[in-house]
Amino acid sequence: MSLLAEKAKDVTRTLLPVVILVLLLCLTIVDVEAGVFIRFLVGSAMLLVGLSIFLWGVELAMNPIGEHMSREIAISRTPLKIALLGFLLGFLITVAEPDLLVLGYQIEAASGGALSASVIVYMVSIGVGVLVSLGIFRLLGDMPFNRFMLITYVIIFILSAFVSEEFMAISFDASGATTGALTTPFVLAISLGLANIKGGRHTEENAFGLVGIMSAGPILAVMLLSVLTEQKNIASVEIDVGVAEGVLGPILDALPSIFVESIVALLPITLLFFIFNFTRFKISRDELSRIIKGLLLTLAGLVLFLTATASGFMDMGRIMGMELAGMSRWLLIGIGFLMGLIVVLVEPAVHVLGQQIEEVTSGHIPLNLIRITLSIGVGLAIALSMVRIVIPEVKLWYFIIPGFALALVLSFVSEPIFVGIAFDAGGVASGPMTATFVLAFAQGAATVIETADVMIDGFGVIAMVAMAPVFSLMVLGTLFRHARVEFPSRKEKEAPSLPPEEELQHNCIMVIVNRGFAESVVDAARLAGATGATIIRGRGTQEDHKVVLPIIHVELQPEREIVLLITGAHLSEQIADNLLADPLLVREGEMAVFMVPTEALVKIPEQDAPPGGASSGT
């Protein structure tokens, strides 16, 4: 199955429930004009094609670009260069984000011109730049991620005491706006690249979290702006809640501006990459053409996808919100829950994050479990937002502050890799689908209910969507770490027999150990005369016990590492004995050693510890 087919299948699987829910509602209780209805179906088809192409392009282009850039950052010799590069990356990708400019104009109007849109865009971009740069220092300097987030959010909590509820909603919304469809995959790739270069035992944990750190930037920036300018209250402005008519007209109307926006959003990353490629990386022509192809696909996919959501989904969401709010409040809350449950899975960044989780943990963390948890979190977030629209006494901070506070407490008892994934998921979940379909649904509902305010309640929805997954995934991570049960099972060994042929002068030794022990294996092998090794990440069921999560009965396959060593035949016995004599590796690492004679072509450099590129040899 090719990559594109894989993506298309994945997108179809997540999009289908959304289409079915809307179809069911339209055919039963919600009364929608034919034009809007057909436009939704056309939009769904466009979304399917666009998102598949986009995800494919991201894999071809964004991942390698992120990898090269992160390498450039990591091998800096001065902290200043790390700081500057990190800031530049964060600033540039944010300043070009179209959603942020839209938000800027909304705030400008709401504050009666006291805060201009460009001030907001620059402040938020600076906030992101600073946080990305700090996040990179955290990763390279080995500061625990949960401690970093604790400090960041304590500052946010303190600031939030000085800002009004409206500004609090806006600041969290700004964080949702910056983690757009394009920035999130890119920052995820940077994070992964840095973690890979840094290596060591925390590689997997380090591959996540930078998006979470980055989303704190806008919150801090907007809150600081409010405190510094003493801008507290904002006036509610009318938001255009009209519904466009016709089928093709609105789609064609939206296309040109979205095309321009997408190019602008893609430009900084592209330019930065080409400048660095010209001066530093100088990658091969094959790879370059691949990346260019990927960039073009990313652009095409993004335009199709954003046009589909803006023209096909927005009006449908608005009409559904208006009609349901007029019918029954319970129905509104219930449908809101269902929508949150399924819509979040269509978010492009959710697919990218899922892919990264799979790659990094080699499938150790069941992807579906992450998706289900994410869904439940966002479903609850939308349902609670509807409650807030229906009952004006319920304030946003009732949910936001306790939610984040609990998540932070749990981050100290949760499985470490989940902490990064959870905070990333917050930024990932609030993407273009939430910003159009779900937001329009909430705004539609708010126009019908007199006590609700279209703008302020709308802002709150995105804040909730950004918070809920952090909380729900952190709960899952805590379950993962604390609720494992182990089942001991039988143990027996077979009598060995087998073979080297005399003319084979090398042996291939394959060692399978628990994650984190590969380095010890290499060290022990080096003591016995091996010179290098290659390590592959994997997962596996061990022979004598298995681990099952309670309640949901998901079997966990522990993470394993595979170490390949090619050694001279005269050394291999000694190396194998040396490894097996290490009680720590055998007991804690649950090591298995395999050997086979091989015909090898190996050239060993002069020194016994080969530098850089040579280290995979024996």
Partner: protein, 222 residues
């Protein structure tokens, strides 16, 4: 444990194969991720030349390996193209008791028809390696990302740079192994130190390979 049974399947399938294998008596397995590749210029040009794969390793006795081959052919249709491939490599499990015991010569039977050629090179050169192998008659190949053992550096942060590596696994008929090896070695300059290593493992049995049909990619491809 006299051998390891390998199966290369589409991503997400490995667990199903492992569970089935456990019903047949396998005790456990290790899974890692890789990429399948297709030797087709057209597909390569439009970027459709990759697919995600999982590689499953099950240590087992030779007898069990033979059973597992039957199992994948029957239950997972490895007899059809593009369902996946499986092969057995006579990896011997080492334990301390066994240390120093001279192993016997390989169990009898016909000489194995296939060889498994594994090349480990710096990341980004994996594709070049595959191209060289294809030029010498190989049909498919599976790419796995791994890392070399760490080397301390002197950047601002004392990173232990773990060089990223591509591991290329190619299953080819035994008579083709030598030319493929030569071709890879010369095109990737493996004779120079530090350029990479290549080794050939004996293969006892294979399933899902379609070497003779033109245009087929040995099942390794998607």
């Amino acid at each position: 444990m006299e051998a390891i049974f390998f199966a290369v399947v589409n991503r997400g399938k490995a667990n199903a194969v492992l569970h089935k294998a456990q019903e047949y008596g396998a005790r456990g397995g290790t899974i890692f991720l890789g990429e399948g590749t297709v030797h087709s210029r057209l597909l390569e040009q439009i970027g459709l030349d990759e697919s995600h794969k999982e590689i499953l390793m099950i240590p087992a006795s030779r007898q069990l390996c033979r059973k597992l081959h039957d199992m994948v052919c029957r239950e997972f249709m490895f007899t059809k193209r593009n369902r996946g491939i499986a092969f057995t490599i006579p990896f011997r499990r080492r334990t301390l008791q066994e240390s120093g015991v001279k192993p016997e010569s390989p169990a009898g039977g016909a000489a194995p028809a296939y060889s498994c050629i594994i090349t480990i090179v710096d990341k980004e050169r994996g594709k070049d390696c595959l191209k060289a192998a294809w030029a010498a008659g190989a049909r498919g190949g599976t790419l796995v990302h791994g890392r070399g053992a760490g080397v301390p550096t002197e950047f601002y942060y004392p990173l232990v740079i773990e060089p990223q590596k591509d591991i290329i696994i190619i299953i080819a008929p035994r008579e083709k192994a030598a030319p493929i090896k030569e071709r890879i070695a010369s095109e990737l300059e493996l004779e120079k130190p530090g350029k990479g290593i290549l080794f050939i493992l004996p293969v006892l049995q294979t399933s899902g390979l379609f070497e003779n049909e033109p245009g087929d990619q040995g099942g390794v491809a998607s």
